[in-house]
Symmetry: T
Subunit: 148 residues, 12 copies
């Protein structure tokens, strides 16, 4: 069974708890479960992780080399600032989907520039947890295409 | 049956014909047919159109008020330059998905800024015609949510 | 009787219908009627038009050469982006009033720069349909002055 | 009878005397008289003042709180530089019209940005002393509307 | 006989009529006739068109695919703003000459950047209608070279 | 007894009266009284002044040379624009505390740059009248340190 | 007894050891002890921590949710670069004081912009360890106010 | 005897007293006396004034119209910020010399841009009180030339 | 016989030798010969020179005053950086054609700005040695026009 | 024997494995071994480390205080973004060499600015593993010089 | 007798010949003679030179080390672009006066920045050949002061 | 024996003589001798030159084509401004080392951008004359590698 990584950056674990409601009302464990169910339907083994540490995310992306066929990443606040994550992604040669719960271009200007986009195959944003499911669907297709 | 508009901007009709290959090898009529089949599966009546004229796109977005439950728009080259399209979209109150065949943030810097994003609920880019299908899926969900 | 053109740009036809209320609650046909009554009081023949098409607006400004003594223009979203409209206005040698329903300098930064201002004699903004009447009054004076 | 303030900034007292002719040929006392006559026709008590001192203008705007129903202000050279005037205007809750004799967007780039616009209801520029009369007309309407 | 398109953008039809004289004193029909005579000498069938509509220009550039061996384009005011025209030109694989009557780098700063240049083989500017003839000569050579 | 100056810039006298509530609900006289009581507790003679005039503030800062051991200054709207105040402060050689009622970095971008900071020992912002008391406490300490 | 967190970023542990003297001569343990004594006087339980790791600081801010009534943070070098810390702070709903030993606006330009300020209630800078005590005093007041 | 104005801006009265020594060691009264002696040698009646108030400087420049044949101005901190002073100078039609004690282009970047330069005939900077004498010499020549 | 100067800047002598092929495969002597033949056909005496030294180019442009009726200049790398060459060209009062082998607007951004354009009558770029011939043709016409 | 630290940032451990080949074909362990042999020749004890974690790099730089005579650092992706690393280096008082495998100024613009350079004695880039050996040679010399 | 260098940059030899009249009507030899007479009155041996070559100007500034007590330099077009001249001037330790015939801040924006100013003691601009005499006077004073 | 060029730009001949000490205390002839000795050890014939003239440096780089196997260049002040030197280097196909005595990124901002870096294989800066020796070592390796 094909393994994919879904890597979540800083504070993603607070989704659904944030009083401002930018990230919807579904809790992070609920989102994780929803993604796992969707991955199962797609025949993918999903490794869904979260860290507040840039270095840990870089470690995981490196780990994906050899153990995962594709990566979905919501680097959260590190999206806008981390060249280290970009460099790790550039060294991964499977498909990569950049995902964001919110539409980052409707938010503060410093969220309008993403380093992750430079390495991503595709980008899905603003569609909440539904967008995460779509990212999994997309990844399944991209992996299948490559496998042909 | 719920109607949705899928509006394509300038030169989208050349997809698959462009020698540089930025937009894949599927022809525009083939993409249209694929979207129509996917919409049918989702129970949506799809009105799929293309124009090279900004004014026509604005007319169509205005027409959507009252006749469509949601809009998918790939404004193509007008994405980066048209406040008129933005203003039309801001006056539409259903969900809007911004779609791009290519990952625009991997291309020339003038394609990194989108006026459409300011009005869109969500954005899907870089996933080719598959991304168009995902946009339809997302729109179906967003319309259903609103209907609840 | 002296003819003047009042040219309205993209989405102006939605005034009064826009849920965000930026442009007040008077409908576009009502604004048109109000301007026509005011023009009549001033002894002007008013040709009040609207288009979502930049090219049509350019055609109309060219048509004004020889048929109109002055122009009022609210280029709406094209105000900020259209050099073509600017060039057409620069080739018109009667007085030109730039009009905006809303105070554009209180809105998003991309609305703070107007190409139209480079060709306009005067600018009136933020005063809603009342501002349109004042623009007509101003135009009547400017035409009378030129005639002297 | 409703009182309104018409506040003029630095060097406005030289209008009509300036050899470059940017501000027309009507002298400042003539403009004042013309505005007073127009205000009288509108049933407004006009308090028309001029100062070269930013602090005096701030004092006057504060004085308007409680003594004037609206303000017209041509802050002249302070338009582009005075946050102090902006802050005073933001603390005034009646309607405010920003007025300029000349079309400031046809002049040097440093005159294209106005702090006053951030507090103004409406803006009238480029129409000379006629524009001042229109500003009074507009203010009369805005005060009447508020009174309703 | 080889066909080439000479496409003119907004307001080019006013050349020779503009009071400011930026574009010389030859009328647009005279320029057209002069270009047709020159094309005839070069053995080219010239299709010389003008439109104020960006969308029409995009349509014509698309039409050139398959019907013209090369394009000369003076996109006029759209030169500086239209990504749609750029994208259409990028999808044309014959030689393209960008032509301007005036030296655009001696004019306002917003005319110093051209989207058309990104797709053009060569650029000729500032030489009036003579420059148009030189553009035809150049195009004839470029087509002949390709044919070899 | 050691004298210190607390200098307040334009519109500070409106604190507590401003309808937008940016500056809290305590009136300016109340804030003054509160600071005087706090200074008394600290053994400082407080000279608390306010002016809407940049020149008066410069005069006062110059007056502090020789008559005050330290300065607290909230230059209000002049914070962002006055090099004259900066130059006066640079010529004062006791400790200087820059104080702001509101957190200026959460407000409009033009309030994110302070000329006063270039001359200040320390900065306290966003803590309302409490911050003013803390500024006095800090100044007392800094004066005592210098005296050692 | 109310708990507050005082979180220190990278290299804060070197205070007093740095040869350039930017951060004074008091050692970090001495500063910690001084803050603990001051907190005790204020009736606060102080949890004073330092880390060189952005991720650890984010973890701690998240930990504060539920265990601390307020946060003082000197994010040191991460102040200028960490959106992850900003996002964690935005999800904390008690009062937050941003503290800096030095006056960061007198230092290199890249230290003039703080992400932390966007989430902070108040800011105290340039007052050394005394500023830390003032931050504690301020936090005690803000917590008390909220409790009312 | 020809009268000239020498106008000094904010803090110029502190020259020679400033501990940083940017402005040399000669006191302001000494500089004034030196200029008066030099003017006398040149046969000029010198009116040497200083104010910390922008408005007063504007008043004086207006007063110069009709009473002075030329102006020397060191606007000090207002050099970089005052459009009001620029506008007053633009309305003066005799020669104007901009003078600075220090070489402002060796100092902070915000001192590298002068509004006064836009109205000045000539500029002399960095030469201390000697430069003031040279400015007087230059002004005497310029007035003599005009008189011819 | 009318003399014209064709001045070539640094490294132009390497054309045809450059391995990257930006400047085509024709050698510099071959280009020179081609230009001389074309000039002969046009009845012009061509003085074709090249230097790697900015100062020599300035000397030659000065020499053209009185000895040449027009100048063609490809300043090569100095195009983007030399105000000295611009100033020399501004002091020449015959027609000037700026020529470039390559389309400089398709290359690195620092090649998109030309000082030479500010002094040139016309610009021809991207057409290789053919463009040089066209420049000669254009110059012959411009000289003839002036002579009328 | 003198100890030096050679600290490598995120993804340096992938050198030689990266498919794009930016960093050459030598593997990271091979580079490490090569550096150790070279250090031995120079009589230096080399402590060669790598981490993907900014915080760990800061910890190590702090550890170098007292245990290492000099530092070589290739901060990789953190070079461009980490003020925390800069601050740690500024508190180290031995010589520091900044090293990069690739010539970072030939790569994307965001790699053209280095925070590390502000603290480094010297910089060596673009010379692959050879550059690492040169960095060691340089460090040996700098330490010896200091020791004199 | 003390020697001073007066170094003139590119195209200064054309002064008085330039049709646009920016540099007055006095010819360069006349200006030279005037300066020599003035130097003689001041007891200075004047070495007055001009070159169109940046390298020659650098050579001359180096030559001044040891042979001249001070330098006056009008680097003309190189003022805005030459770091080489700046570096040469920085290595000269006598007084340096930067002189310009015209007021460079009233001309094109690229003339508003001078590299020479960073090395100059004082600056005199906009006063034509009179300014050159004043520069000599100033230099004589500065040399005398140093000699004391 | 393999020949390499070491080209030094303006003012490099003053190294060791500059009072500010930016470039160390070794004189330029001493540095030259040291490099020649080191080259000899490496088996390289070193041609070490210096010029203050950009054009001479371009001539020399062109001369290197065919006569030198590699180039070391310290373009000094021309590093930041000369596209002509860049273009010459781009046409050289052996290895190129950019060398600087000082760490240019610790100096004024205009020294932080190098045109030379765009053509250089590697860069060595901040290591004084030692860095020159390292550059020679590096060049010897790069030439040997190419020769394999």
């Amino acid at each position: 069974m094909t393994t994919v990584f879904f890597l979540n950056g800083p504070n993603a674990n607070l989704y659904g708890l944030d009083p401002s409601g930018t990230y919807g009302s579904e809790s992070f464990p609920a989102i994780k479960a929803r993604c796992e169910r969707h991955a199962e339907r797609l025949g993918l083994a999903l490794d869904f992780r979260q860290s507040n540490h840039e270095g840990v995310l870089v470690d995981w992306i490196q780990e994906a080399r050899g153990s995962a066929a594709g990566i979905i990443i919501n680097a959260a606040g590190l999206t806008y600032t981390s060249v280290a994550i970009l460099d790790a992604l550039l060294a991964f040669d499977g498909p990569i989907i950049e995902a964001h719960m919110s539409n980052i271009w409707k938010r503060e200007p410093f969220r309008h520039h993403s380093y992750v986009s430079r390495a991503a195959t595709g980008v899905i944003a603003g569609l909440g947890a539904l967008g995460y499911e779509l990212a999994l669907t997309a990844l399944a297709h991209l992996i299948a295409e490559t496998a042909e």
